[in-house]
Symmetry: C2
């Protein structure tokens, strides 16, 4: 891709060419390395969209909640893109179709762009691909980009980490479930949502989450922002307007506390560099024609060396 092509595509994206954006995301899904010069240019010019991450267990009502949030933002005149990342197996591909159906309220609104994304590439490839897709979406005139993942496992954590503000959606649940869900989740959430607020256990779940958050705050007193726990009922829209207000407040907080925000951005960029580098490494090591590693592979086969020594040797060369 030469400079002229990069400039032409960047201009098309800036002008809001939806088909151009969609085609680029398809190429990203396929792992097309030819996009690199474009992604580099877009990153360097980018940083305008407000990126919101949303995650939570399957069945928590994320898609309905997203549809409601999109409606609130559209009523404010904001243009919104939704990137639904499905890191799950081919066996559960059906969920994405379900999401599309639930999002159908926005199908005829060209101020809304909805795209699901999957990748059959190696481990780590999907998180990198999601980050690349965000670079493309950020180059289009979207005010808000919502990135959704299912579950709160390690993959999902990596993916929502691309966002500036992360929503964690929970359903009302018993005490043991909250305990099981505890590890890690309070670290990544900026706003907690207990959806299906008409459920018997909703208030108890709110209190348990609040207790968990207080504990996390004591461990990280420098964090500043106190993550709120909100109740919503996405089916009838209850609590969604307040959620949108809280998201705005969180972005406002990030603007006012530049020191903390910079520290978070640095961490995010370290992750991003690692993600891209790991993906590049995986591609290179996979290319059987690459001769650089061959003598070491032979020594591994005969067990004269070990994968740890070979990896440490390669790492040392990075400096």
């Amino acid at each position: 891709m030469d400079d002229a092509e990069v400039r032409a595509i960047a201009a098309a994206l800036a002008a809001g060419d939806l088909r151009c954006g969609a085609r680029l995301i398809t190429r990203i899904e396929r792992g097309d390395e030819g996009l690199m010069p474009l992604l580099q240019a877009l990153y360097r010019q980018g940083g305008r969209s407000r990126v919101v991450g949303i995650t939570g267990p399957p069945g928590a009502g994320k898609s309905t909640l997203i549809s409601r949030l999109v409606a609130v933002w559209r009523a404010q005149g904001q243009r919104v893109a939704v990137l639904a990342v499905d890191p799950s197996s081919p066996f559960s591909g059906g969920a994405v179709l379900g999401d599309r159906v639930r999002m159908s309220a926005h199908v005829f609104d060209d101020g809304v762009f909805i795209r699901s994304m999957a990748s059959r590439r190696h481990l780590g490839g999907l998180a990198r691909a999601a980050g690349d897709a965000l670079v493309v979406l950020d180059a289009m005139p979207w005010d808000v980009v919502l990135i959704e993942t299912v579950g709160v496992g390690q993959n999902e954590t990596e993916i929502v980490r691309h966002a500036s503000v992360v929503l964690l959606v929970q359903t009302p649940m018993g005490g043991d479930d909250v305990q099981a869900a505890k590890a890690g989740i309070t670290e990544i959430g900026d706003i907690f949502v207990v959806n299906k607020s008409d459920h018997l256990r909703a208030d108890a779940t709110v209190r348990q989450l609040q207790a968990m958050i207080e504990l996390t705050q004591r461990l990280h007193p420098d964090r500043g922002w106190q993550p709120p726990v909100l109740k919503t009922n996405a089916v009838d829209g209850q609590g969604v307007a307040e959620l949108a207000v809280r998201i705005d407040q969180c972005f406002e907080h990030l603007r006012r506390h530049e020191g903390t925000t910079r520290a978070r951005q640095r961490t995010r960029l370290r992750h991003r560099v690692n993600e891209v580098l790991s993906d590049m490494l995986a591609r290179r090591l996979r290319e059987d024609e690459d001769p650089a590693l061959e003598p070491q592979i032979a020594a591994l086969l005969s067990r004269e060396t070990d994968p740890y020594a070979v990896a440490a040797g390669l790492l040392a060369r990075i400096g």
Copy 2:
């Protein structure tokens, strides 16, 4: 960990010290880097266990099937370790407990070692940890090590790739589901199992899988081994003895076709080096005190450079 300690632990493992093995796997789960000298020594002395991977969607009956296979191997006097790797979110931790209950038939048999493994570490950390755990298990007197993952997504594929022989367990399903499940799975499976063979659609599923395998074989004519499709009913044990025979045949095939086997091993070792290297990289980039990357992070923040350029620069240094 000094040389004397490495030798003492290696000797304990070789003597079949179960508690020592279990403790090491716990340290691996926690990401304890101090184990590196031990893992290096164990890898260089290792390579004895026959490692079988088993994967398939949730509810396919993998755990019951494993319990039956273990019984067959135990009746042959073989010592068996089962490593159940659960890459899913904290929300679905319950499945592991269920597996433990189903495996309870072997609880009082010290020729069987059952261990589930999870990791809250970053993306890629679990695949590396599973590979490390296999190094420990291989150093113990297990004739067979079974590594189980749930689902056939990208993570699971990475994890069963550590095995020499991979079983893919399916349930009888409709035509569309097989289509959806198709991509990628025939590439990694050496033996296909349609469990719940009393189901109405069992024979149709067998035929569909056979058609998919034939297509894959035509794409990879050098593969040699023709993956069989077997029907089992794990609940009553039907077909399990034949499955065990076919696993033996697959290992026998690997022994006889050294050229193909070496090529597979080389690919596996490339993956393994990449996995360990990615994990090491992730740790290093995560350490905020590491100053090497700081000037580049500052340039990333101001968007004078981009993550692709920084990653490519680091990669170039590997040579």
